[in-house]
Point group: none
Chain length 213, copies 4
DNA sequence: GATGAATGAGACTTCATTCAT
DNA sequence: TATGAATGAAGTCTCATTCAT
C-alpha cells in the first residue's frame, strides 16, 4: 500500500471522524432506538472501526449523550434564529413556532432521537433534555412576560403557561411524526391559535371555573 | 407453617398468578424501561418462576403488550366513568380531565409504561396505544361537537381540536411526572382554561393570523 | 361431575393407558426426532397428563426405550410369521424379505423411530436395537446354513453374509422411506436378486479377487 | 512466554480459527450427537470463545451444515482419487470401495457426523447429504454402464443398482463402526464379492423369480 | 387414579467492550 | 492512527420433571 493510498482512505483529522461517527449514530439510534442499536451498526454506517468510536467518543452511553447534545444545540439555535426580537410578541411566537416545526420536519431523525429515545431512557440522558427544555421555556417566558406585565397577569403564571406551551409543541411535533401529511405551517398555525387565543383570554381575565363542585 | 411458606407452596389458580405477574411487569417495565427490564426481575418481583411467565403470558413482547392493554383499558374506564353525560359540556370536560389526571397521579407506573415506554418502542406496541388514543379522541370529539354545532364551527375542525387536546393532556401528564409537587387539580385547571377559552375563541370566530409574512 | 361422567373420561385400566401413551410417543418421536419431541406433546397427543406418563413409563429415556422395544418386537414377529419353514430356502428368504418391507411400508413411523432415531442416539438405546439385529441375523443365518452346508461353504462365512444382508435390507428400507413411489414388492425383488445370485455365486465357488494389486 | 500463553494471546487469522472450530465441532457432534452437543463444549474443545463461533460460522445449525459440507467434500474427493479411470471396471470399483472404507476407517468421527447424525436430523441437513449421495451414485453408474452396455443390460437398471450398491456401502460402513475388529480390506472385499458376482449374474441374465406365489 | 401448577437447570445467542498488531 | 480478533457477561426462552390437590 503506497503512502498515497493510505492517505486517501485513512488518517482523517479527528474532527472529521467525530462528525462521521455522530451522523451515523444519530441515524442508527433514530432507526432502531437506543437499545436495539448496536455499536457494530454504528461503526458500519460510519465507515469507521469500533475501537475508533470508543477512542473518540467513549462508551455507548457517552455516544448517545453526545448525539443528544449536538442535536439539542442545533434545534435551539434554529428556534432562536427564528425569533427576531424587533418584532411584536405575537409575531415572535409565530416565527419561533414556525422555525421549530420546520426544523423538526427537516430533521425527523434528530427529533426522534431527541424526544422519543432520550425521554424513554431514564437517568443520565434526561439531564441534557431537561436543560434544553429549561432554555426553551425561558425563551417563551420572557416573551409572554412582555405582554402579560403590560396587562395584569402575575409572574409565575407565565412560566407555567410557557411550560404548557413548550410541552404542547413537543407533543404536537411528536404526533406530527406519525401524521406527516399535514404541512408544517398548518401544524404551527393550529398551536398558535390555541395558545394565543387562550393566553389572550387569560390576560384579559376571561377564565373558566367549575360552576359547582 | 408460616405465611411465607404458604405463599411458596400454595398452588394458586391461573387467574390469580396472571394478575400477580402483570402487576410485577408493570412495575418493572415502568422502573427500568422495556429493554432494561429483565424477565428475571419480573419473575423475582412477581414471586413466580420464569417458566410460569412464559407459560401464562408468552414472550417478553407479549407480556409488555398485555401490560399496555390492561392499563389502557383501566385508564379509559376511569376517564369514561368521570364523564357524566347529564352535565353541561364544560363540566363534562372538566370532570373528564379531572379523572384523567387523578388516575395518572394515582398510577404513575401505569402511565409511565403506557406513554413513555410504549411510545418509544416501534411497531407492534403502538397499535394498542393508537387504539386507546382513538377512543379518547372520539370521546372528546362527541363532546365538542355538541357545543360547536350549536354555534358555527364545522365538523372536522372539532376532531383536530380534540386530537390537540388529547395530545396536550398526554404531554402535560408526562411533564407532571417530572414535576410532582403541583396538585392534580391545578394541572387539570391549567389545561381546562387553555382549552376552554381557546376553544371558545374559535367557536366565536376570534382567530389569530399572521399580520404580515 | 357425576360418577357416570367421571367414569366416561377417566379411570381407564393401566394397560389401556400404557398403549395410548406408547402410540402417541411413537408418533411424536417419529415426527420430530427424539430430542425435538417434548413430553408435553406426547401428553397432548396421548390425551393423558404428564404425571401419568411418568408414573406408568418413567423418564423420557425410558419411554423411548419402551417404544423401541415394542416396535422391534412387532417387526420381528411379522418377519418370523412370513418365513414358513416348510418351504424351500429361497422362498423362505423371499417371503421374509416381503414381510419385512411390507411391515416397514405399513408402519413408516415405527421404522423411523426404530432405525433412524434409535441409531443416532448413542448408548442405552442401541442395546435394544443390537439385540433385534442379532435375532434377525440369526434368523437369516439358519436359513443360509441349510443351503450352504449342503454345498461347500464354511460356517462363519454365512454369518457375515447374513449380517451384510440384514444391513442391506435396513439400508434399503431407509432409502425407501425417502423414495416412497417404488412398490414394496419391487424393493424386495431388487434385494432378493442381488442377494440370491451373489450368494449362489459364492456357494458355487465363483468369487472375485483383485487381478493384481 | 510459554506456548500456552502464546496460544491464548495470539490473534490468529480467520481462516485458521475457522478450521480449528470446524475440527472441534466435528468431534463434538460425533461424540454426543447434534442435539446433545452444546456450543459451550465446541468452544471449549476449539479453544475459542463462543462469540467467535457465532461470528465466523453462524448458528448451531449453520455450524453443523458446515461440518457436513466439509466432510462430505473430503470423502468424495478421497473416493474419486481412488478410482483411476485407466484400469478395467472391476478394478476401478475395487479401488473405489477400498478408498471409501479406508477413509471411513481413518475418519470415524467424520463418518459418524456425516451419516448417523445428518441422517437423523430432518430437512435442511439432508440436502448436503443427498447431494453427495447423488454424486456417488453417478460415479458408480458410469462405471457399471461401461460393462453393462457391452453386454445386454439396459440403461436405468444400472442406476438403481448403483443406488443399491451405494446404500449397501453406507450401511456396511455404519455396521463396521460398531464392529471395528474386521480389517478394512475384508469389509471391502465382502461387499465387492456380493456386488460383482450379483451384478455379473444380472448381466448374464441369471435372475431369480419366485417359483410360485 | 389423575392433573394443573410449578420450577431448576441449561441451551442458544448477542453485545459492549478491549487487546495485539 | 487504525483495525481485525477476541471475549465476559447477560438475556430470552425451553424442557424434563415433580408437587399439592
Amino acid at each position: 500500500m503506497t503512502v498515497e493510498e493510505r492517505r486517501r482512505v485513512k488518517r482523517l483529522p479527528r474532527e472529521v471522524r467525530e462528525r462521521q461517527i455522530l451522523d451515523a449514530a444519530v441515524r442508527v439510534f433514530s432507526d432502531h432506538g437506543y437499545h436495539n442499536a448496536s455499536m457494530d451498526e454504528v461503526s458500519d454506517v460510519a465507515g469507521v472501526s469500533k475501537p475508533m468510536i470508543y477512542a473518540y467518543l467513549g462508551s455507548k452511553e457517552d455516544l448517545f449523550a453526545a448525539c443528544i447534545h449536538r442535536e439539542a444545540t442545533q434545534l435551539l439555535a434554529a428556534v432562536a434564529a427564528g425569533v427576531r426580537t424587533e418584532l411584536p410578541a405575537d409575531m415572535q411566537l409565530w416565527h419561533g413556532l414556525g422555525a421549530f416545526f420546520e426544523y423538526v420536519g427537516a430533521h425527523r431523525e434528530s427529533w426522534r432521537v431527541l424526544h422519543r429515545q432520550a425521554i424513554s431512557q431514564g437517568g443520565p440522558f434526561s439531564e441534557e433534555l431537561l436543560d434544553m427544555r429549561r432554555q426553551a421555556i425561558s425563551l417563551v417566558d420572557t416573551l409572554l412576560v412582555r405582554v402579560a406585565t403590560k396587562e395584569g397577569l402575575g409572574r409565575g403564571a407565565t412560566e407555567s403557561l410557557a411550560a404548557a406551551l413548550v410541552g404542547a409543541a413537543e407533543s404536537l411535533a411528536d404526533w406530527w411524526l406519525d401524521n406527516p401529511d399535514v404541512p408544517s405551517r398548518a401544524v404551527a398555525s393550529r398551536l398558535m391559535n390555541l395558545a394565543w387565543i387562550g393566553f389572550g383570554g387569560l390576560v384579559d381575565g376571561r377564565t373558566w371555573h367549575p360552576s359547582a363542585d
